[in-house]
Protein backbone atom coordinates (compact mmCIF):
# COMPACT_ATOMS: atom_id res chain seq x y z
CA UNK A 1 0.00 0.00 0.00
CA UNK A 2 1.39 3.41 -0.93
CA UNK A 3 -0.16 6.82 -0.20
CA UNK A 4 2.28 8.77 -2.36
CA UNK A 5 2.47 6.59 -5.48
CA UNK A 6 5.96 5.28 -4.85
CA UNK A 7 7.55 2.10 -3.56
CA UNK A 8 10.94 0.45 -3.28
CA UNK A 9 10.88 -3.08 -4.70
CA UNK A 10 13.70 -5.47 -3.71
CA UNK A 11 14.32 -9.10 -4.59
CA UNK A 12 16.94 -11.86 -4.49
CA UNK A 13 17.96 -13.50 -7.75
CA UNK A 14 21.02 -15.41 -8.99
CA UNK A 15 21.09 -13.77 -12.40
CA UNK A 16 19.59 -10.94 -14.46
CA UNK A 17 15.86 -10.38 -14.20
CA UNK A 18 13.13 -8.39 -15.91
CA UNK A 19 10.71 -6.47 -13.66
CA UNK A 20 7.30 -5.76 -15.16
CA UNK A 21 4.26 -3.83 -13.97
CA UNK A 22 0.64 -3.99 -15.05
CA UNK A 23 -2.34 -1.94 -13.93
CA UNK A 24 -5.64 -3.81 -13.66
CA UNK A 25 -6.75 -5.12 -17.08
CA UNK A 26 -3.70 -3.56 -18.75
CA UNK A 27 -0.76 -5.20 -20.48
CA UNK A 28 2.55 -5.73 -18.72
CA UNK A 29 5.17 -3.01 -19.15
CA UNK A 30 8.87 -3.58 -18.47
CA UNK A 31 10.27 -1.35 -15.71
CA UNK A 32 13.75 -2.78 -15.42
CA UNK A 33 16.07 -5.38 -16.97
CA UNK A 34 19.40 -6.23 -15.42
CA UNK A 35 21.26 -7.73 -12.50
CA UNK A 36 20.32 -5.20 -9.78
CA UNK A 37 18.45 -6.41 -6.72
CA UNK A 38 16.08 -3.47 -6.27
CA UNK A 39 14.15 -0.80 -8.17
CA UNK A 40 12.44 2.43 -7.14
CA UNK A 41 8.97 3.00 -8.58
CA UNK A 42 7.29 6.40 -8.36
CA UNK A 43 4.62 8.58 -9.93
CA UNK A 44 1.90 5.92 -9.91
CA UNK A 45 -1.72 7.04 -9.95
CA UNK A 46 -4.51 5.51 -7.82
CA UNK A 47 -5.04 1.86 -8.62
CA UNK A 48 -3.96 -1.74 -8.06
CA UNK A 49 -0.77 -2.80 -9.82
CA UNK A 50 0.71 -6.26 -10.36
CA UNK A 51 4.50 -6.52 -10.24
CA UNK A 52 6.25 -9.62 -11.54
CA UNK A 53 9.85 -10.75 -12.12
CA UNK A 54 10.96 -12.83 -15.08
CA UNK A 55 14.21 -14.81 -15.00
CA UNK A 56 16.61 -15.33 -17.92
CA UNK A 57 14.85 -18.54 -18.93
CA UNK A 58 11.47 -16.85 -18.91
CA UNK A 59 10.27 -18.28 -15.60
CA UNK A 60 7.91 -15.86 -13.80
CA UNK A 61 7.56 -15.06 -10.11
CA UNK A 62 4.27 -14.86 -8.27
CA UNK A 63 2.75 -11.39 -8.79
CA UNK A 64 3.12 -8.80 -6.05
CA UNK A 65 0.12 -6.50 -5.74
CA UNK A 66 0.86 -2.85 -5.04
CA UNK A 67 -2.13 -0.70 -4.09
CA UNK A 68 -1.82 3.05 -4.55
CA UNK A 69 -4.32 5.28 -2.76
CA UNK A 70 -3.15 8.88 -2.70
CA UNK A 71 -3.82 10.97 0.40
CA UNK A 72 -6.93 13.11 0.64
CA UNK A 73 -6.76 16.06 -1.73
CA UNK A 74 -9.17 18.01 0.48
CA UNK A 75 -6.86 17.64 3.48
CA UNK A 76 -3.87 18.51 1.34
CA UNK A 77 -5.53 21.71 0.07
CA UNK A 78 -6.56 22.68 3.61
CA UNK A 79 -2.97 22.29 4.80
CA UNK A 80 -1.71 24.26 1.80
CA UNK A 81 -4.13 27.07 2.67
CA UNK A 82 -3.00 27.08 6.31
CA UNK A 83 0.64 27.05 5.21
CA UNK A 84 0.07 29.94 2.81
CA UNK A 85 -1.63 31.96 5.55
CA UNK A 86 1.18 31.37 8.07
CA UNK A 87 3.86 32.15 5.48
CA UNK A 88 2.18 35.36 4.31
CA UNK A 89 1.86 36.50 7.93
CA UNK A 90 5.59 35.85 8.51
CA UNK A 91 6.59 37.67 5.32
CA UNK A 92 4.32 40.61 6.23
CA UNK A 93 5.87 41.03 9.68
CA UNK A 94 9.41 41.01 8.24
CA UNK A 95 8.80 43.15 5.17
CA UNK A 96 6.67 45.70 7.04
CA UNK A 97 9.52 46.15 9.49
CA UNK A 98 9.48 47.63 12.97
CA UNK A 99 6.28 49.26 14.12
CA UNK A 100 5.92 52.02 16.75
CA UNK A 101 9.68 52.58 16.66
Amino acid sequence: MSDAGNAQVAWRADGPVRLVIAAAEAEERTLYSGAAQSFFISGLEDGDYRLRLYGEAGQASEPLVLTVRHQSLTRALLLVSLGALVFLAIATVILRGARDD
Binding site: G5, S42, E45
Partner: protein
Protein backbone atom coordinates in the same frame (compact mmCIF):
# COMPACT_ATOMS: atom_id res chain seq x y z
CA UNK B 1 21.19 5.11 1.41
CA UNK B 2 20.88 1.72 -0.18
CA UNK B 3 24.06 -0.12 -1.06
CA UNK B 4 25.02 0.03 -4.71
CA UNK B 5 28.23 -0.62 -6.67
CA UNK B 6 30.79 2.18 -6.12
CA UNK B 7 31.21 4.58 -9.04
CA UNK B 8 34.95 5.18 -8.44
CA UNK B 9 37.79 3.01 -7.16
CA UNK B 10 38.85 3.51 -3.52
CA UNK B 11 42.31 4.62 -4.73
CA UNK B 12 40.85 7.48 -6.75
CA UNK B 13 38.58 8.32 -3.81
CA UNK B 14 41.52 8.47 -1.39
CA UNK B 15 43.57 10.65 -3.76
CA UNK B 16 40.70 13.14 -4.11
CA UNK B 17 40.09 13.08 -0.37
CA UNK B 18 43.78 13.70 0.36
CA UNK B 19 44.08 16.56 -2.16
CA UNK B 20 41.07 18.45 -0.87
CA UNK B 21 41.91 17.73 2.78
CA UNK B 22 45.38 19.27 2.36
CA UNK B 23 43.86 22.26 0.55
CA UNK B 24 41.22 23.02 3.21
CA UNK B 25 43.55 22.49 6.18
CA UNK B 26 46.33 24.56 4.58
CA UNK B 27 43.96 27.44 3.87
CA UNK B 28 42.44 27.18 7.35
CA UNK B 29 45.85 27.48 9.00
CA UNK B 30 46.83 30.35 6.72
CA UNK B 31 43.65 32.34 7.38
CA UNK B 32 43.80 31.54 11.10
CA UNK B 33 47.12 33.39 11.52
CA UNK B 34 45.32 36.72 11.74
CA UNK B 35 43.03 35.69 14.61
CA UNK B 36 44.12 37.23 17.89
CA UNK B 37 40.89 37.43 19.93
CA UNK B 38 37.54 35.67 20.28
CA UNK B 39 35.96 38.35 18.06
CA UNK B 40 38.50 37.60 15.30
CA UNK B 41 37.97 33.86 15.72
CA UNK B 42 34.17 33.83 16.04
CA UNK B 43 33.21 36.73 13.79
CA UNK B 44 36.20 37.21 11.46
CA UNK B 45 36.71 40.73 12.82
CA UNK B 46 33.14 41.74 11.74
CA UNK B 47 34.52 42.78 8.37
CA UNK B 48 33.26 40.29 5.76
CA UNK B 49 32.41 41.84 2.38
CA UNK B 50 29.65 41.09 -0.12
CA UNK B 51 31.30 38.42 -2.31
CA UNK B 52 32.56 36.31 0.58
CA UNK B 53 29.33 36.94 2.50
CA UNK B 54 27.02 35.78 -0.28
CA UNK B 55 29.20 32.75 -1.07
CA UNK B 56 29.47 31.55 2.53
CA UNK B 57 25.71 31.83 3.11
CA UNK B 58 24.95 29.96 -0.12
CA UNK B 59 27.62 27.29 0.46
CA UNK B 60 26.56 26.63 4.05
CA UNK B 61 22.99 26.13 2.85
CA UNK B 62 24.09 23.77 0.04
CA UNK B 63 24.37 20.61 2.11
CA UNK B 64 24.66 17.02 1.00
CA UNK B 65 20.86 17.07 1.20
CA UNK B 66 20.66 19.74 -1.51
CA UNK B 67 22.64 17.65 -3.93
CA UNK B 68 21.33 14.22 -2.90
CA UNK B 69 17.82 14.66 -1.41
CA UNK B 70 16.62 17.20 -4.00
CA UNK B 71 16.82 14.50 -6.75
CA UNK B 72 15.09 12.10 -4.35
CA UNK B 73 12.31 14.63 -3.74
CA UNK B 74 11.88 15.12 -7.50
CA UNK B 75 11.67 11.39 -8.15
CA UNK B 76 9.23 10.79 -5.29
CA UNK B 77 7.06 13.90 -5.49
CA UNK B 78 7.61 15.15 -9.04
CA UNK B 79 7.77 18.76 -10.17
CA UNK B 80 6.09 20.01 -6.97
CA UNK B 81 8.61 18.05 -4.91
CA UNK B 82 11.46 19.75 -6.76
CA UNK B 83 9.88 23.17 -6.23
CA UNK B 84 9.12 22.34 -2.57
CA UNK B 85 12.84 21.85 -2.03
CA UNK B 86 13.68 25.19 -3.65
CA UNK B 87 11.52 26.98 -1.08
CA UNK B 88 14.43 26.63 1.35
CA UNK B 89 15.97 29.60 -0.52
CA UNK B 90 13.15 31.77 0.85
CA UNK B 91 14.71 31.33 4.30
CA UNK B 92 17.82 33.14 3.07
CA UNK B 93 15.81 35.76 1.15
CA UNK B 94 13.65 36.65 4.17
CA UNK B 95 16.65 36.60 6.50
CA UNK B 96 18.18 39.39 4.36
CA UNK B 97 16.12 42.23 5.91
CA UNK B 98 16.40 40.54 9.32
CA UNK B 99 20.21 40.51 9.07
CA UNK B 100 20.28 44.29 8.63
CA UNK B 101 17.95 44.73 11.59
CA UNK B 102 20.03 42.35 13.77
CA UNK B 103 23.26 44.21 12.94
CA UNK B 104 21.62 47.56 13.70
CA UNK B 105 20.04 46.48 17.00
CA UNK B 106 22.99 44.40 18.24
CA UNK B 107 26.20 45.95 16.87
CA UNK B 108 28.26 44.10 19.51
CA UNK B 109 26.26 40.84 19.48
CA UNK B 110 27.89 37.42 19.15
CA UNK B 111 25.16 34.79 18.94
CA UNK B 112 21.45 34.18 18.45
CA UNK B 113 21.48 33.20 22.15
CA UNK B 114 22.38 36.81 23.01
CA UNK B 115 19.14 37.89 21.33
CA UNK B 116 16.94 35.47 23.29
CA UNK B 117 18.63 36.29 26.61
CA UNK B 118 18.42 40.06 26.19
CA UNK B 119 15.01 40.17 24.53
CA UNK B 120 13.05 37.55 26.50
CA UNK B 121 15.10 36.65 29.60
CA UNK B 122 16.71 33.48 30.91
CA UNK B 123 13.75 31.07 30.67
CA UNK B 124 13.24 31.69 26.96
CA UNK B 125 17.03 31.63 26.50
CA UNK B 126 17.22 28.21 28.18
CA UNK B 127 14.46 26.76 25.97
CA UNK B 128 16.13 28.24 22.91
CA UNK B 129 19.47 26.68 23.87
CA UNK B 130 17.91 23.23 24.30
CA UNK B 131 16.06 23.48 20.97
CA UNK B 132 18.99 24.87 18.98
CA UNK B 133 21.58 22.48 20.44
CA UNK B 134 19.31 19.52 19.66
CA UNK B 135 18.85 20.78 16.10
CA UNK B 136 22.54 21.61 15.60
CA UNK B 137 23.80 18.30 16.94
CA UNK B 138 21.34 16.27 14.87
CA UNK B 139 22.22 18.30 11.76
CA UNK B 140 25.91 17.76 12.43
CA UNK B 141 25.39 14.02 13.00
CA UNK B 142 23.26 13.67 9.87
CA UNK B 143 25.92 15.49 7.79
CA UNK B 144 28.80 13.44 9.14
CA UNK B 145 26.87 10.19 8.65
CA UNK B 146 25.90 11.27 5.13
CA UNK B 147 29.59 11.96 4.47
CA UNK B 148 30.65 8.45 5.45
CA UNK B 149 27.78 6.81 3.60
CA UNK B 150 28.16 8.87 0.42
CA UNK B 151 31.93 8.46 0.17
CA UNK B 152 31.40 4.74 0.66
CA UNK B 153 28.75 4.60 -2.07
CA UNK B 154 30.74 6.76 -4.48
CA UNK B 155 34.22 5.32 -4.04
CA UNK B 156 34.09 2.25 -1.81
CA UNK B 157 36.03 4.02 1.01
CA UNK B 158 34.77 2.46 4.24
CA UNK B 159 32.05 4.36 6.12
CA UNK B 160 34.15 4.82 9.25
CA UNK B 161 37.18 6.17 7.36
CA UNK B 162 35.13 8.48 5.14
CA UNK B 163 33.18 9.91 8.05
CA UNK B 164 36.33 10.25 10.18
CA UNK B 165 38.38 12.04 7.51
CA UNK B 166 35.62 14.52 6.63
CA UNK B 167 35.02 15.37 10.29
CA UNK B 168 38.74 15.55 11.13
CA UNK B 169 39.49 17.90 8.23
CA UNK B 170 36.61 20.23 9.14
CA UNK B 171 37.55 20.18 12.85
CA UNK B 172 41.20 21.01 12.11
CA UNK B 173 40.66 24.01 9.87
CA UNK B 174 37.71 25.34 11.87
CA UNK B 175 39.70 25.09 15.14
CA UNK B 176 42.71 26.81 13.68
CA UNK B 177 41.09 29.37 11.41
CA UNK B 178 37.70 30.08 13.03
CA UNK B 179 34.98 31.81 11.02
CA UNK B 180 37.52 33.39 8.64
CA UNK B 181 38.67 29.94 7.53
CA UNK B 182 35.08 28.71 7.29
CA UNK B 183 34.06 31.65 5.13
CA UNK B 184 37.18 31.48 2.95
CA UNK B 185 36.83 27.77 2.24
CA UNK B 186 33.07 28.22 1.77
CA UNK B 187 33.80 30.70 -1.03
CA UNK B 188 35.93 28.17 -2.93
CA UNK B 189 33.53 25.32 -2.16
CA UNK B 190 30.57 27.41 -3.39
CA UNK B 191 32.32 28.08 -6.73
CA UNK B 192 33.17 24.37 -7.16
CA UNK B 193 29.59 23.29 -6.38
CA UNK B 194 27.99 25.83 -8.75
CA UNK B 195 30.39 25.08 -11.62
CA UNK B 196 29.93 21.34 -11.04
CA UNK B 197 26.14 21.49 -11.00
CA UNK B 198 26.05 23.69 -14.15
CA UNK B 199 28.39 21.33 -16.03
CA UNK B 200 26.38 18.30 -14.97
CA UNK B 201 23.06 19.97 -15.87
CA UNK B 202 24.31 21.01 -19.33
CA UNK B 203 25.71 17.50 -19.92
CA UNK B 204 22.36 15.92 -19.04
CA UNK B 205 20.52 18.34 -21.35
CA UNK B 206 22.97 17.54 -24.15
CA UNK B 207 22.02 13.87 -23.83
CA UNK B 208 18.25 14.19 -23.70
CA UNK B 209 15.69 16.84 -24.61
CA UNK B 210 13.08 18.28 -22.26
CA UNK B 211 10.38 16.92 -24.63
CA UNK B 212 11.75 13.38 -24.23
CA UNK B 213 11.86 13.74 -20.44
CA UNK B 214 8.25 14.98 -20.40
CA UNK B 215 7.07 12.19 -22.70
CA UNK B 216 8.82 9.54 -20.59
CA UNK B 217 7.38 10.80 -17.30
CA UNK B 218 3.89 11.12 -18.80
CA UNK B 219 3.93 7.41 -19.59
CA UNK B 220 6.00 5.88 -16.79
CA UNK B 221 5.48 8.18 -13.80
CA UNK B 222 2.37 10.25 -14.63
CA UNK B 223 1.58 11.37 -11.07
CA UNK B 224 4.89 13.29 -10.97
CA UNK B 225 3.35 15.82 -13.40
CA UNK B 226 0.03 16.02 -11.53
CA UNK B 227 -0.55 19.57 -10.32
CA UNK B 228 -2.83 18.23 -7.55
CA UNK B 229 -0.48 15.51 -6.24
CA UNK B 230 -1.59 15.49 -2.55
CA UNK B 231 1.67 14.37 -0.89
CA UNK B 232 3.66 16.85 -3.01
CA UNK B 233 1.53 19.92 -2.38
CA UNK B 234 1.45 19.15 1.36
CA UNK B 235 5.25 19.12 1.37
CA UNK B 236 5.53 22.67 -0.03
CA UNK B 237 4.71 24.79 3.01
CA UNK B 238 5.98 22.25 5.52
CA UNK B 239 9.37 22.40 3.82
CA UNK B 240 9.22 26.15 3.44
CA UNK B 241 8.51 26.69 7.15
CA UNK B 242 11.15 24.15 8.20
CA UNK B 243 13.68 26.13 6.15
CA UNK B 244 12.56 29.45 7.65
CA UNK B 245 12.84 28.03 11.17
CA UNK B 246 16.30 26.63 10.50
CA UNK B 247 17.69 29.91 9.14
CA UNK B 248 15.89 32.32 11.49
CA UNK B 249 17.04 30.71 14.74
CA UNK B 250 20.41 29.11 14.10
CA UNK B 251 23.70 30.71 15.01
CA UNK B 252 25.17 29.67 11.65
CA UNK B 253 23.18 32.55 10.14
CA UNK B 254 23.22 34.97 13.08
CA UNK B 255 27.02 34.73 13.37
CA UNK B 256 27.24 35.73 9.73
CA UNK B 257 24.83 38.64 10.28
CA UNK B 258 27.24 39.84 13.02
CA UNK B 259 30.36 39.09 10.95
CA UNK B 260 29.35 40.88 7.74
CA UNK B 261 30.52 44.45 7.33
CA UNK B 262 27.84 47.07 8.08
CA UNK B 263 25.37 47.35 5.19
CA UNK B 264 26.48 44.04 3.64
CA UNK B 265 24.22 41.55 5.46
CA UNK B 266 20.98 42.28 3.61
CA UNK B 267 22.55 42.18 0.14
CA UNK B 268 24.67 39.12 0.94
CA UNK B 269 21.76 37.01 2.19
CA UNK B 270 19.49 38.11 -0.69
CA UNK B 271 22.22 37.24 -3.20
CA UNK B 272 22.89 33.89 -1.51
CA UNK B 273 19.17 33.02 -1.75
CA UNK B 274 19.26 33.74 -5.48
CA UNK B 275 22.47 31.70 -5.90
CA UNK B 276 20.97 28.78 -3.96
CA UNK B 277 17.55 28.77 -5.66
CA UNK B 278 18.50 27.00 -8.94
CA UNK B 279 20.70 24.32 -7.29
CA UNK B 280 17.86 21.97 -6.21
CA UNK B 281 16.08 22.61 -9.52
CA UNK B 282 19.17 21.45 -11.43
CA UNK B 283 19.64 18.49 -9.07
CA UNK B 284 15.94 17.58 -9.28
CA UNK B 285 15.91 17.91 -13.06
CA UNK B 286 18.71 15.35 -13.23
CA UNK B 287 16.49 12.87 -11.39
CA UNK B 288 13.47 13.51 -13.61
CA UNK B 289 15.68 12.77 -16.63
CA UNK B 290 16.60 9.31 -15.30
CA UNK B 291 13.76 7.53 -17.13
CA UNK B 292 14.38 9.20 -20.49
CA UNK B 293 18.11 8.45 -20.15
CA UNK B 294 17.22 4.84 -19.40
CA UNK B 295 19.06 4.90 -16.06
CA UNK B 296 17.51 2.31 -13.74
CA UNK B 297 17.26 3.65 -10.19
CA UNK B 298 17.71 0.93 -7.54
CA UNK B 299 17.03 3.40 -4.70
CA UNK B 300 15.72 6.96 -4.78
CA UNK B 301 18.63 8.35 -2.74
CA UNK B 302 21.18 7.26 -5.37
CA UNK B 303 19.38 8.91 -8.30
CA UNK B 304 21.71 11.90 -8.65
CA UNK B 305 25.05 10.06 -8.68
CA UNK B 306 23.75 7.29 -10.94
CA UNK B 307 22.41 9.66 -13.60
CA UNK B 308 25.55 11.80 -13.53
CA UNK B 309 27.86 8.78 -13.73
CA UNK B 310 25.82 7.36 -16.63
CA UNK B 311 25.86 10.59 -18.61
CA UNK B 312 29.43 11.69 -17.91
CA UNK B 313 31.11 8.39 -17.09
CA UNK B 314 34.13 8.49 -14.80
CA UNK B 315 34.40 12.28 -15.17
CA UNK B 316 30.84 12.53 -13.84
CA UNK B 317 31.63 10.26 -10.93
CA UNK B 318 34.69 12.42 -10.11
CA UNK B 319 32.53 15.55 -10.36
CA UNK B 320 29.83 14.22 -8.04
CA UNK B 321 32.47 13.07 -5.52
CA UNK B 322 34.01 16.56 -5.42
CA UNK B 323 30.62 18.31 -5.28
CA UNK B 324 29.46 16.10 -2.42
CA UNK B 325 32.72 16.57 -0.49
CA UNK B 326 32.52 20.35 -0.88
CA UNK B 327 28.82 20.42 0.04
CA UNK B 328 29.49 18.41 3.19
CA UNK B 329 32.57 20.37 4.26
CA UNK B 330 30.91 23.76 3.70
CA UNK B 331 28.03 22.80 6.01
CA UNK B 332 29.94 20.85 8.69
CA UNK B 333 32.53 23.62 9.16
CA UNK B 334 29.83 26.30 9.50
CA UNK B 335 27.89 24.26 12.01
CA UNK B 336 31.00 23.42 14.04
CA UNK B 337 32.06 27.06 14.18
CA UNK B 338 28.61 28.48 14.95
CA UNK B 339 27.73 25.87 17.58
CA UNK B 340 31.09 26.13 19.35
CA UNK B 341 30.74 29.92 19.44
CA UNK B 342 27.25 29.52 20.90
CA UNK B 343 28.53 27.17 23.61
CA UNK B 344 31.51 29.41 24.36
CA UNK B 345 29.55 32.66 24.52
CA UNK B 346 26.20 31.47 25.91
CA UNK B 347 27.29 28.69 28.22
CA UNK B 348 30.97 29.13 29.16
CA UNK B 349 31.08 32.92 29.29
CA UNK B 350 27.57 33.72 30.45
CA UNK B 351 27.17 30.94 33.00
CA UNK B 352 30.70 30.26 34.26
CA UNK B 353 33.35 32.87 33.35
CA UNK B 354 31.84 36.33 32.69
CA UNK B 355 35.28 37.93 33.10
CA UNK B 356 37.14 35.62 30.70
CA UNK B 357 39.62 37.46 28.47
CA UNK B 358 39.19 37.52 24.65
CA UNK B 359 42.26 35.30 24.26
CA UNK B 360 40.87 32.75 26.76
CA UNK B 361 37.52 32.72 24.97
CA UNK B 362 39.28 32.06 21.67
CA UNK B 363 41.12 29.07 23.18
CA UNK B 364 37.92 27.76 24.77
CA UNK B 365 36.08 28.06 21.42
CA UNK B 366 38.83 25.97 19.78
CA UNK B 367 38.56 23.23 22.41
CA UNK B 368 34.76 23.30 22.21
CA UNK B 369 35.03 22.80 18.42
CA UNK B 370 37.27 19.80 19.05
CA UNK B 371 34.95 18.36 21.71
CA UNK B 372 31.89 18.87 19.53
CA UNK B 373 33.61 17.15 16.64
CA UNK B 374 34.70 14.21 18.78
CA UNK B 375 31.19 13.87 20.23
CA UNK B 376 29.72 13.88 16.71
CA UNK B 377 32.27 11.27 15.63
CA UNK B 378 31.42 9.01 18.59
CA UNK B 379 27.69 9.24 17.86
CA UNK B 380 28.21 8.50 14.18
CA UNK B 381 30.64 5.62 14.71
CA UNK B 382 28.07 2.80 15.19
CA UNK B 383 26.27 3.90 11.98
CA UNK B 384 22.77 3.71 13.41
CA UNK B 385 20.79 4.65 10.29
CA UNK B 386 17.78 5.94 12.16
CA UNK B 387 19.91 8.63 13.87
CA UNK B 388 20.01 10.72 10.71
CA UNK B 389 16.22 10.77 10.59
CA UNK B 390 16.14 12.34 14.08
CA UNK B 391 16.86 15.62 12.27
CA UNK B 392 13.26 15.59 11.06
CA UNK B 393 12.03 15.70 14.69
CA UNK B 394 13.67 19.11 14.85
CA UNK B 395 11.13 20.50 12.36
CA UNK B 396 8.51 21.36 15.02
CA UNK B 397 11.21 22.79 17.32
CA UNK B 398 12.60 25.20 14.74
CA UNK B 399 9.13 26.06 13.39
CA UNK B 400 7.98 27.02 16.90
CA UNK B 401 10.85 29.55 17.18
CA UNK B 402 9.94 31.56 14.04
CA UNK B 403 7.31 33.83 15.63
CA UNK B 404 9.17 34.59 18.87
CA UNK B 405 12.15 35.65 16.72
CA UNK B 406 10.43 37.81 14.14
CA UNK B 407 8.11 39.56 16.58
CA UNK B 408 11.00 39.95 19.02
CA UNK B 409 12.98 41.75 16.33
CA UNK B 410 10.21 43.99 15.05
CA UNK B 411 7.52 44.45 17.71
CA UNK B 412 7.99 46.19 21.04
CA UNK B 413 4.90 44.45 22.48
CA UNK B 414 6.21 40.91 21.86
CA UNK B 415 6.77 39.53 25.36
CA UNK B 416 8.32 36.65 27.32
CA UNK B 417 5.02 34.83 27.91
CA UNK B 418 4.45 34.81 24.13
CA UNK B 419 7.95 33.57 23.36
CA UNK B 420 8.09 30.86 26.04
CA UNK B 421 4.52 29.68 25.41
CA UNK B 422 4.92 29.86 21.64
CA UNK B 423 8.05 27.72 21.68
CA UNK B 424 6.72 25.13 24.14
CA UNK B 425 3.15 24.89 22.80
CA UNK B 426 4.17 24.96 19.15
CA UNK B 427 6.89 22.34 19.56
CA UNK B 428 4.68 20.13 21.74
CA UNK B 429 1.65 20.14 19.43
CA UNK B 430 3.92 19.82 16.38
CA UNK B 431 5.65 16.73 17.78
CA UNK B 432 2.29 15.13 18.63
CA UNK B 433 1.17 15.75 15.02
CA UNK B 434 4.48 14.35 13.74
CA UNK B 435 3.65 10.97 15.27
CA UNK B 436 -0.14 11.11 14.97
CA UNK B 437 -0.42 12.40 11.38
CA UNK B 438 2.98 12.52 9.67
CA UNK B 439 6.19 14.51 9.05
CA UNK B 440 4.50 16.57 6.33
CA UNK B 441 2.33 18.50 8.81
CA UNK B 442 4.56 18.71 11.91
CA UNK B 443 6.45 21.94 11.17
CA UNK B 444 3.39 23.64 9.71
CA UNK B 445 1.20 22.89 12.74
CA UNK B 446 4.00 23.85 15.16
CA UNK B 447 4.47 27.21 13.43
CA UNK B 448 0.71 27.88 13.26
CA UNK B 449 0.17 27.10 16.98
CA UNK B 450 3.19 29.18 17.97
CA UNK B 451 1.94 32.05 15.78
CA UNK B 452 -1.53 32.02 17.38
CA UNK B 453 -0.07 32.07 20.92
CA UNK B 454 2.50 34.78 20.19
CA UNK B 455 -0.09 37.00 18.47
CA UNK B 456 -2.58 36.70 21.35
CA UNK B 457 0.14 37.48 23.92
CA UNK B 458 1.39 40.46 21.92
CA UNK B 459 -2.17 41.77 21.54
CA UNK B 460 -2.79 41.56 25.31
CA UNK B 461 0.70 42.78 26.25
CA UNK B 462 1.10 46.12 28.00
CA UNK B 463 4.93 46.04 27.93
CA UNK B 464 6.93 48.02 25.40
CA UNK B 465 10.45 46.71 24.92
CA UNK B 466 13.33 49.18 24.88
CA UNK B 467 15.44 48.31 21.81
CA UNK B 468 18.51 49.82 23.45
CA UNK B 469 18.65 46.77 25.74
CA UNK B 470 19.67 44.61 22.77
CA UNK B 471 22.76 46.76 22.34
CA UNK B 472 24.10 45.61 25.71
CA UNK B 473 25.35 42.30 24.38
CA UNK B 474 29.08 42.89 24.40
Amino acid sequence: MTEAAALLSPTVGWILLALFSVLWIGLGFYWGKRNKSFEDHALAGRNIGLALGAATAAASWITSNTTMVAPQFALQLGVWGMLAYTTASIGLLLFAPMAGRIRALMPAGYTSGDFFRLRYGRTAWGIFLIFTLFYSLTWLVSMAMAGGILLNALSGISYVWGMTVILAVCILYTMRGGLAAVIGTDFIQCLIIIIGIVVVGVAVLANVSVEDIHANISVERPALLDILFPAAIMAIFNNLLFGLGEVFHNNVWWSRAFAFREGVGGKAFALSGLIWFPIPIAAGFIALASGALNVPVPASDMTGPLVVATVLGEVGALAIFIIVFCALASSIDSLLAATSDLLTEDVYRRLFRPAASPATLKTVAQYVTLALGVLTWAICLPRIGTLATVLFFAGPLVGAMIWPIITGLYWRNANTAGAVGGMLLGAGVGLVCYFAIGWYVATLIATAVSMAWVLVCARLSKTRFDWAKLGESS
